[in-house]
């Protein structure tokens, strides 16, 4: 028997309430903590070059985060968001995409942007709001964006990118592109209306978008246990009729393979997918946050031992693709480059005053011209005076 939505109806004659216990979704993992594959696991097809590129992006992300968090503490930038403990999910998922795939991110995916080729100078220009910032110094640090790299500029309000990703993907499908959209967000953002709106529209409109949820345990200070009830975010997607996979977010190989296969499936058959990556936000939410007020050192220590970079490094060593000397030399060189890029960016000028009224509209309208003139020549009297 089917209802008008083509859903099969099963009739029962005794009350049986359905709850989440029957819906527990398993977690896909390939690598054991010792860097060896599970017995029945199949490693993704990765050559040495690709595998090391991912590793280097993760390491660079961590070193960049360390340096910039220190820079924030020194008062050199106003704010920073690190991705400590989550480097694998951003880098490995982005690595599974093609360059023409669009990424809409939240604010903890610097690894994805870095892996796509955003340079240290570009990161620093944004962080220091200098005249080279592609966003023209208008947003808080970490709100990156790069047209050339198909990485949509980040917005602060939570979850707004989710229905937008559905729209971007619909546009890709309509244009007949063999490209998809990947949309990152945290488990906290999944509480917003935009999450539900975006997923439902994607399911109904069959858009090729991967909703990539970083379930990292905390939305600022609110633990996941106070954020949702039931089997994580994955089960919500199932309810919308969206194919879903839960993956170990600290397993680089598993995240890569999950994203690669999801992408392949939706290229052949346009439809959305949700990947829930389980991990732990090892750092503070932002430089304005202090986790010691809401979680224990012991809890953090437990997760520190499950560092995603460490596990992946072991696998690379088992492959014979990485040795400790090279690794150390590479890190030292990266640290030097980061420091150099920071010094350069700090010295660059701020954006010109004119940029204040640019890009509000495609062309600067008359009233903004007047207001700029008033700003340049305050003695002329009123704010809206012609120059």
């Amino acid at each position: 028997m089917t209802n008008p939505n083509n859903a099969t109806i099963t009739l029962v004659h005794r009350i049986r309430f359905v709850d989440g216990h029957g819906l527990t979704i398993p977690t896909f993992r390939l690598l054991k903590d010792d860097g060896h594959l599970y017995a029945d696991a199949i490693a993704p097809e990765l050559d040495k070059e690709q595998a090391l590129a991912m590793y280097h992006s993760m390491v660079a992300t961590r070193l960049l985060d360390e340096r910039m968090l220190a820079a924030q503490r020194q008062g050199r930038i106003s704010f920073y968001l690190q991705s400590l403990g989550e480097e694998a999910q951003a880098v490995a998922s982005a690595a599974a995409l093609a360059p023409e795939d669009m990424i809409l991110a939240q604010y903890r995916e610097q690894g994805a942007l870095l892996h796509r080729g955003f340079t240290l100078a570009q990161f620093m220009s944004q962080l220091f709001s200098n005249e080279d910032d592609l966003g023209k110094g208008r947003q808080m640090p970490v709100h990156y964006g790069c047209r050339e790299l198909n990485f949509m500029t980040i917005s602060s309000p939570l979850a707004t990118q989710i229905p937008q990703a559905t729209g971007v993907a619909y546009g890709q499908r309509l244009a007949g592109e063999s490209a998809i959209t990947l949309c990152y967000f945290g488990e906290g953002a999944a509480s917003e209306g935009d999450f539900h709106a975006g997923l439902n529209m994607a399911a109904v409109l069959k858009t090729p978008v991967i909703f990539f949820c970083r379930n990292n345990g905390y939305a600022i200070s609110t633990p996941a246990s106070e954020q949702f009830v039931g089997d994580g975010i994955a089960s919500r997607a199932v309810g919308y009729g969206i194919r879903t996979l839960r993956v170990d977010g600290a397993d680089t190989l598993a995240v890569f393979e999950a994203t690669r296969q999801a992408r392949q499936l939706m290229l052949d058959d346009p439809q959305p997918m949700l990947i829930e990556a389980m991990s732990y936000r090892l750092g503070a939410h932002s430089s304005s946050d202090d986790p010691s007020g809401y979680r224990s050192q012991a809890e953090e220590e437990r997760w520190r031992k499950r560092d995603p970079i460490g596990r992946y490094r072991l696998w690379l060593q088992h492959q014979g693709w990485l040795n400790e000397d090279d690794d150390r030399r590479h890190r030292d060189e990266l640290r030097r480059q980061i420091l150099e890029a920071m010094k350069q960016a700090e010295q660059r000028a701020k954006p010109a005053l004119e940029s204040l009224v640019e890009d509000v509209y495609a062309a600067v309208p008359r009233h903004l011209e007047r207001q700029l003139a008033g700003l340049k020549h305050p003695s002329s009297g009123r704010q809206g005076e012609d120059a």
Partner: protein, 325 residues
């Protein structure tokens, strides 16, 4: 030229836009086969297919978020919000996202080409959830354009201009006039400028200013005034953001008096902004205080709707008071 009402003019504009440009898409609640609650999108799905004209789930934030994504991808979404009263769930997407896409990315990304069409205003016995005029919320937001047509000719030309515009536009359609306003409309493709007020009637004693459905009352009041020997210059603002200060200022410098009328509540209404600008630029030329005839600072009533509306009688009273200050 063909006689048509405002709704038919909107439908023709959408048809022409979709015909000329395959990147124009129309979507929203019930807009597909059904043609929308007011039938503005009638026939579009038949002509252009379900990929380009379709129903969405009932989610205003979803519709505008989705439209933002589409427009950022370079398409031209024309999204319908069924009533302007229901635009508020999409407020964040419009104000924080649509309006700031270009600015925040340093013009790497923008949502030019995005149009949100939505029927607004009272006079249809709709009570407080089918009658609001929310334009003031949006004219406070740099990056948006806000446009309100007063009749079929303007609706068609302004909507086509909105779809072609490189900036996102919120297009408020006066639903009281959907079928009531009928005019001879050019059947071809034409645009009207989005940054110009129109002097609808020239006069010498007082400038009357409004937009959208309120123009109907303004013109009736101007007729009453004319019979009483008062010459009114009547201006339709058409574009509220950015608005055409110069045309308004020029008129007030000539007449020395200004009356602004809008249906939305008085406090914080767009009339306040206009009054402030005009007194700044025309102070020494003003012969009486700038008058505002607006809705009350209450939710839109149902039973007392006729009393609430700032109609031609209230406007005519205010004209007299201004003339005799």
């Amino acid at each position: 030229m063909k006689q048509m009402n405002l709704l038919q003019a909107v439908n023709q504009a959408l048809t022409l836009a979709m015909e000329r440009d395959a990147s124009v898409l129309c979507f929203g609640e019930d807009v597909g086969h059904f043609g929308g609650v007011f039938r503005a999108t009638s026939g579009l799905q038949d002509k252009y297919g379900e990929d380009r004209c379709f129903n969405t789930p009932l989610t205003e934030q979803g519709i505008v978020g989705f439209a933002n994504g589409l427009a950022a991808k370079g398409l031209k979404p024309v999204a319908e919000i069924q009533f302007a009263d229901y635009i508020f769930p999409a407020f964040d997407q419009l104000v924080n996202e649509t309006a700031k896409f270009r600015y925040r990315s340093g013009n790497q990304f923008n949502v030019g080409g995005l149009v949100v069409r939505t029927p607004y205003g009272g006079g249809i016995a709709g009570g407080h959830y089918h009658s609001q005029s929310p334009e003031a919320y949006f004219v406070h937001t740099p990056g948006l354009r806000v446009v309100v047509p007063r009749g079929p000719v303007q609706a068609k030309g302004l909507l086509l201009a909105a779809i072609a515009c490189p900036d996102p536009v919120i297009f408020f359609e006066p639903k009281r006039l959907y079928r009531a306003a009928v005019a001879e409309v050019d059947e071809g493709y034409y645009q009207l400028p989005l940054d110009r007020a129109e002097v609808v009637r020239e006069g010498s004693d007082i400038t009357l200013l409004a937009w959208g459905a309120q123009m109907d009352y303004l013109l009736k009041a101007a007729d009453l005034a004319d019979n009483a020997g008062i010459s009114c210059e009547v201006i339709d603002l058409q574009s509220l953001l950015p608005w055409d200060e110069d045309t308004v200022v020029e008129s007030v410098l000539k007449t020395g008096r200004l009356l602004i009328s809008h249906e939305a509540p008085l406090t914080g209404g767009f009339g306040a902004e206009i009054a402030a600008t005009v007194q700044e630029r025309c102070f020494l030329y003003l012969e009486s205080p700038i008058a505002r005839v607006c809705g009350l600072d209450t939710p839109f009533p149902l039973a007392l709707e006729k009393r609430y509306m700032p109609d031609q009688h209230r406007i005519f009273d205010a004209i007299n008071a201004t003339m005799n200050f």
